[in-house]
């Protein structure tokens, strides 16, 4: 009985650590005023976004550029549902009737945004999951572009390039934290489920997996849809964080930032997603301050725009070249006193990592 409880505890330990990490990060907000609160909110939103990216990319090995499209869908949905009808009447008179009068409570709107994004992901997954790694990535890149262009031009719904404004800023540190905890837990559940395990086994060698009949389409679909849901959630939270936006907010810059967070943290581990996003959020803040120029004593050192991105790019390239599995080395934070150890084998690169469980391994035939 005691042994069973201990086993469960060891199993859940990685999840507990990450949930605690998120909670602790949120507490930082208590040490500052409004500005710090907002920064922590944004960091948590990015955390959800990175976890969303991880759920699909980390498990399947396929880099998806679609996460930001899902964010876009969620953001626009939430915005349209929560902007006060009066504002909509005044500023966006071209909106369809049912949207004009919509006035949803925050949580419902954000959740619905996630659901809509997940539905979008489901529809996309039907044709896309058949594709192999690189072509799937490129297809998601095409999707990103399409969503961006539509968002930037659809006058009636998205107000084209002008974008939406007047969104009530209902996001707080607590709501962002709550959603992050949900996201982390969901990602963990997917990962340790049967589907997640099969997906990770196929990541090792797609051809080998296919040759023994592991067709991972259904598993990928699940991961993709979950990824879509939380991408949408992040979008909704972001909409209510920032108050006004247009489609450019969901294009290459934020895609790059998310990718940096995951790669630096470790593409193949949930811990990587969480730690990577927090680390990069922090570094990014510091760099932003430097970029704006700072004072050393009475001397003002002027900043230069572009510095932050350059350094982030350098960090990412350094990790890709020197420590491709990221800060976490592609592993979860396991209970340090456990007797189980994963086997390491040879030098691998960012996306090919980790020993899949023994049962999956024995099925792989070799000539």
């Amino acid at each position: 009985m005691r042994d069973q409880a201990r086993q469960i505890f060891v199993r859940l330990w990685p999840l507990i650590v990450l949930l605690a990490t998120a909670a602790v990060t949120a507490q930082i907000a208590d040490f500052g005023g409004q500005l710090l609160q907002r920064k922590v909110q944004l960091a948590l939103i990015y955390l959800i976004l990175t976890v969303a990216l991880y759920v699909f990319t980390g498990n399947s090995g396929v880099f998806s550029f679609g996460t930001i499209s899902f964010m876009s869908v969620g953001a626009y949905t939430t915005a349209l549902l929560t902007i006060p009808p009066q504002t909509k009447h005044d500023a966006f008179s071209q909106l369809p009737h049912f949207l004009q009068h919509a006035n949803w409570p925050t949580t419902a709107a954000i959740t619905f945004g996630g659901v809509l994004a997940a539905a979008f992901a489901l529809v996309l997954s039907l044709p896309l999951m058949r594709l192999s790694g690189l072509t799937a990535s490129l297809a998601t890149f095409a999707v990103l572009n399409i969503v961006y262009i539509v968002g930037n031009n659809w006058v009636t719904v998205t107000n084209a390039a002008q974008g939406l404004e007047g969104i009530p800023q209902g996001t707080t540190v607590n709501t962002a934290l709550a959603w992050s905890l949900v996201a982390i837990t969901a990602a963990y559940v997917v990962q340790i489920s049967r589907y997640g395990l099969r997906l990770r086994a196929s990541r090792e060698d797609e051809r080998a997996a296919r040759s023994i009949g592991v067709g991972v389409h259904a598993e990928r679909r699940l991961a993709f849809v979950v990824s879509g849901f939380f991408g949408g959630i992040a979008g909704g939270l972001f909409a209510q964080y920032i108050g006004a936006f247009n489609a450019s907010a969901f294009y290459l810059d934020i895609t790059f930032l998310t990718v940096v967070m995951l790669v630096v943290g470790g593409v193949t581990s949930l811990a990587g997603a969480v730690i990577g996003s927090i680390f990069i959020s922090f570094v990014s803040e510091v760099l932003l301050d430097i970029e704006n120029g700072f004072n050393v004593g009475s001397v003002h050192i002027p900043g230069r725009s572009g510095l932050r991105e350059v350094i982030l790019a350098v960090i990412m390239l350094t990790i890709l070249i020197l420590r491709p599995r990221g800060i976490t080395d592609g592993r979860e934070l396991t209970w340090p006193f456990s007797r189980r150890r994963f086997e390491r084998f040879g030098r691998t690169t960012a996306l090919e990592v980790e020993a899949p469980p023994a049962e999956a391994a024995q099925n792989v035939e070799v000539t």
Partner: protein, 305 residues
């Protein structure tokens, strides 16, 4: 409805002028796509930083302003080729054996680094430069204007295509590159040096980008950090449409895109014009899903039994 129809100019002169523009633009796109296809064929790398070679060439032209244009052209293509080689050596060689997705992400990082680096060094605002006063002059043929630059663009493109064809077909290293593009592992087992072949593909890609850069800057006169973004997206689309890895496909794809772009811009009703790119990506998706080998039909080789 009639209003829409009236906005389409169906005159012959308009058509011909657009044709001239289309061929010019298509040549530019073809050069970029070709460079990307060359690298992709051998390394399975979609190099998003390829467009930034254009930017590098652009800033080189800004800094070198003064000499006559043939000198500038040669300087640009040398600089871009060197830059491409540097890119390969520093960023891509260490991750060479990684998955195609990792390579993609690496190229993303390189691109970001270069674009923001340029922003840091040169400022985000565009810089202007005038390459040559002679090239901007045009000949008038009937109601159509053919700029000398247009003629140069087409001429250079044709010459480069011919040279590349000869290089790949007749030289030893050209044969090695073609073999590597078909079966890299086997080529290595026969003694083909991976470093040599990859470096060569980057150098040639850089050279082509350098020429494209020169032509682009000669036309627009403006250089800014993100000027490589649109071309690289075009290159990506061209490669997919032409069949990934197929060099002829990339060239044809590039030309097609130039044609489509100019045609849609000229003839699409105003309301749909901004969606032009969305249509293009939609077509890309369809091609990826339905005909991944590309739109261009390759010569079918029947096997002897």
């Amino acid at each position: 409805m009639t209003a829409l129809l009236l906005s389409i100019d169906l005159s012959k002169d308009f058509l011909l002028q657009n044709l001239v523009n289309a061929i010019s633009l298509g040549s530019l796109y073809a050069l970029i796509a070709l460079g990307m296809a060359l690298i992709f064929g051998i390394m399975r790398l979609v190099n998003f930083a390829h467009g930034d070679l254009l930017m590098v060439g652009g800033y080189a032209l800004v800094l070198l302003a003064g000499p006559p244009w043939p000198v500038l052209l040669l300087a640009t293509l040398a600089i871009c080729a060197l830059f491409a080689l540097g890119m390969e050596r520093i960023a891509f060689r260490p991750v060479r054996n990684a998955s195609a997705s990792t390579l993609l992400v690496t190229s993303f990082a390189v691109s970001y680094f270069l674009e923001n680096g340029a922003q840091l060094i040169f400022s985000p605002l565009p810089k202007t430069t005038n390459i040559s006063n002679t090239l901007i002059q045009s000949w008038q043929v009937g109601a159509i204007y053919i700029a000398k630059l247009n003629a140069l663009t087409v001429a250079l493109t044709l010459v480069l295509l011919a040279l590349l064809g000869l290089f790949l077909g007749r030289t030893t290293i050209g044969v090695q590159m073609r073999a590597a593009a078909e079966d890299f592992g086997m080529a290595r087992l026969l003694g083909v040096r991976a470093n040599t072949v990859i470096a060569m593909s980057f150098a040639i890609g850089g050279l082509l980008a350098g020429v494209a850069s020169f032509l682009l800057v000669a036309q627009t006169g403006a250089v800014f950090p993100t000027m490589g973004l649109a071309p690289v997206l075009v290159g990506f689309v061209a490669i997919v449409l032409g069949g990934m890895g197929s060099l002829q496909g990339a060239v044809v794809g590039g030309f097609l895109l130039g044609l489509i772009s100019v045609t849609l811009q000229a003839y699409l009703p105003l309301t749909l014009r901004s969606y032009r790119d969305a249509f293009t990506y939609g077509i890309v998706l369809l091609v990826i899903l339905l005909r991944p080998q590309g739109l261009i039909v390759a010569r079918r080789e029947r096997q002897r039994v």
